[in-house]
């Protein structure tokens, strides 16, 4: 029998189930987006599949009323936990005017929503890292108890932006949580061709901050690590580097054919540790989830996804004249 781990971490039963629900919602929105792409209705998909546990586990450990998140393009789980809705995401997928991320301007995956303190990012990867450090610095100067949570892939951890941000945050002991979602591939480049160290978290010591590697398929393990990092930040002890190990279950994007660089057996093997399956099993063992509850949850989620799809599909595009809005101040 498994022990009740979530209570030991201070999570209520309801929160533990809510985490699963958010993970499942992210997965179902993502799956729908692939279908819409393959039927020619939306131009592009970049997936969260396989990384929901890391994203949702981390988001639940933050102060979701105060903290700022600077997600990278796969972080659907993070933004859903921070208040973005299925409809918001579908509006973005269809590039409609009502897309809160950019009004249909940016590609999907460029999350941004001011009211939920989700900070928009650029297409070049890792630009969000120095931004997060800047936000943490601003919080410090304004004497607010906020933390900046920033995520990126392991490929991004080789970029200069990461180095500069991590170094500055550590020197000034800023409340930043750096979370590297290591999904083993930087598009087509496997981990061992990206970095020579065993773990991305090994880099932390070089900046003078703690670094941990956790199982990204276990939302509770990620929750614990981020919770501790958040407390360090609050105590003024500075940033933390967390590496979550998971696996990218889909091709890099809807424009990518991953069979040209990784074997099907490898993907099938990874699917056995799909976080949705393993966390679902945990919830069933602890008696929080039954087949019945799960079915009801799934039905509700599919209704949400269907409604979001239809609404976004029928929503108007932005007016052409609006293309120049926000370019110059009025």
């Amino acid at each position: 029998m498994s022990t009740n781990r979530h209570q030991a971490l201070g999570l209520t039963d309801q929160e533990a189930v809510d985490m699963y629900r958010t993970m499942l919602l992210a997965r179902k929105i993502d799956e729908r987006m692939w279908l819409l792409n393959r039927s020619g209705k939306i131009p592009f998909v970049i997936s969260c599949q396989g990384q929901e546990a890391a994203q949702v586990g981390a988001a639940f450990a933050l102060d979701r009323e105060m903290d700022y998140v600077l997600p990278y393009y796969r972080d659907m789980g993070v933004v859903l936990a921070f208040g973005m809705t299925a409809k918001d995401l579908m509006m973005s997928g269809f590039a409609k005017a009502a897309d809160p991320n950019s009004g249909g301007r940016q590609m999907p995956g460029h999350f941004g929503q001011k009211k939920n303190r989700i900070v928009t990012g650029s297409s070049p990867v890792t630009t969000q890292v120095p931004h997060a450090v800047g936000i943490a610095l601003a919080g410090r100067m304004e004497k607010k108890d906020i933390a900046a949570f920033v995520t990126f892939g392991e490929g991004s951890s080789n970029q200069g932006d990461f180095h500069e941000g991590a170094n500055f945050a550590a020197v000034h002991k800023l409340p930043v949580i750096f979370m590297c979602e290591n999904n083993k591939y930087a598009i087509s480049v496997p981990y061992d061709k990206q970095v020579a160290c065993e773990n991305i978290s090994d880099r932390a010591i070089g900046y003078g901050m703690p670094g941990v590697t956790v199982n990204g398929n276990d939302p509770l393990e990620v929750y614990q690590a981020v919770k501790e990092a958040r407390e360090r930040a609050r105590r003024g002890e500075g940033p933390t580097l967390i590496e979550t190990i998971s696996y990218r279950l889909t091709p890099h994007s809807s424009d990518d054919d991953d069979s040209s660089y990784r074997g099907r057996e490898e993907v099938e093997e990874a699917k056995k540790s799909d976080p949705l399956l393993t966390y679902q099993a945990y919830l069933k063992e602890t008696g929080l989830l039954s087949d019945e509850i799960e079915q009801t949850m799934l039905d509700e989620i599919m209704a949400i996804v269907n409604e979001a799809t239809d609404e976004a599909e029928n929503a108007p595009y932005a007016a052409p004249e609006s293309a120049l809005d926000y370019v110059y101040a009025k």
């Binding site: 792409n37 039927s39 020619g40 592009f44 809807s254 424009d255 595009y317």
Partner: protein
Amino acid sequence: MAIEQMTMPQLGESVTEGTISKWLVAPGDKVNKYDPIAEVMTDKVNAEVPSSFTGTITELVGEEGQTLQVGEMICKIETEGANPAEQKQEQPAASEAAENPVAKSAGAADQPNKKRYSPAVLRLAGEHGIDLDQVTGTGAGGRITRKDIQRLIETGGVQEQNPEELKTAAPAPKSASKPEPKEETSYPASAAGDKEIPVTGVRKAIASNMKRSKTEIPHAWTMMEVDVTNMVAYRNSIKDSFKKTEGFNLTFFAFFVKAVAQALKEFPQMNSMWAGDKIIQKKDINISIAVATEDSLFVPVIKNADEKTIKGIAKDITGLAKKVRDGKLTADDMQGGTFTVNNTGSFGSVQSMGIINYPQAAILQVESIVKRPVVMDNGMIAVRDMVNLCLSLDHRVLDGLVCGRFLGRVKQILESIDEKTSVY
């Protein structure tokens, strides 16, 4: 009840067409929205295309193996109680868009890219005083391409805006990206009991390549007969030991390919391509060889054949033929050919007129080696192993004289092969 159309989705940025590799449904099948209906292959990805409707498949428009432009219809689905709003969106009124150049939502769904002008289009239009509102775009989503404008300039001026034409020209960019003249050919109808074989995949490629070659290239033809008695004797004498040491067959064909490669080095004119205002003489000598299967024909390439020994060529032939049989030929195996040698003798032909492997300048048919009585130099009649070499040539690139000299040289090389020749 309404008939809805499924169109070829754009599976990836910059992807303009998709090939239906497999239908997963048949007419009469019921499908739910998002059920997969077909497997589609593109330059970027291979994917299952899901249905956008719940209903019954009434017609598959595209065939397996057929490549369709993005936006072209692939099948029809009869839906029950279709939502009129949805219908409107799927089948926007083309005429509305045409009459109202400032395309509003209905027209935008139809030709959403009509008003997205590239800098090249804007500049060309400006230079030639072309009103872009009057131009029908043939690019994706009705976008006006540079070619559209160039065509207008060449044909002299702006198209008159003809509402009829615009109506019909609307959504499918079919006639668009490849402005081929409409085929006027009438095709035979099949009678009862006849078998209809759909033209797909490789057959289709063969048909279009052959047609292109035969219609574009003015073919001329010449033949020379070669006495290969010594070569045959030599090859037969080492055949078994070669097989034993090397593990593959030493075929006559390898000797011919080698001789051709060597002669091509001496006659680079033969190793060239017609390129409109110039002739490109290729540096590399890459010999395409025709390899047939039961129902199709492939032309894999022996790269840098002039640098290889007879053994090396024999090995390449064996490898490429195996790949063809196993269906493992890659695009790379078929690229870069500069001259084709065709082993028509393998099925007993003694004379044939090859169609040039476009865009090469010539093709050589190696016919059957047959024993024939030949009058020798000393006036005696002898039984000799004779072979006909038939050459089809692009008369734009080559004339009879150089071809004759080239063939003569191939003949000379082949006739000098004997037991003193090394295959290594």
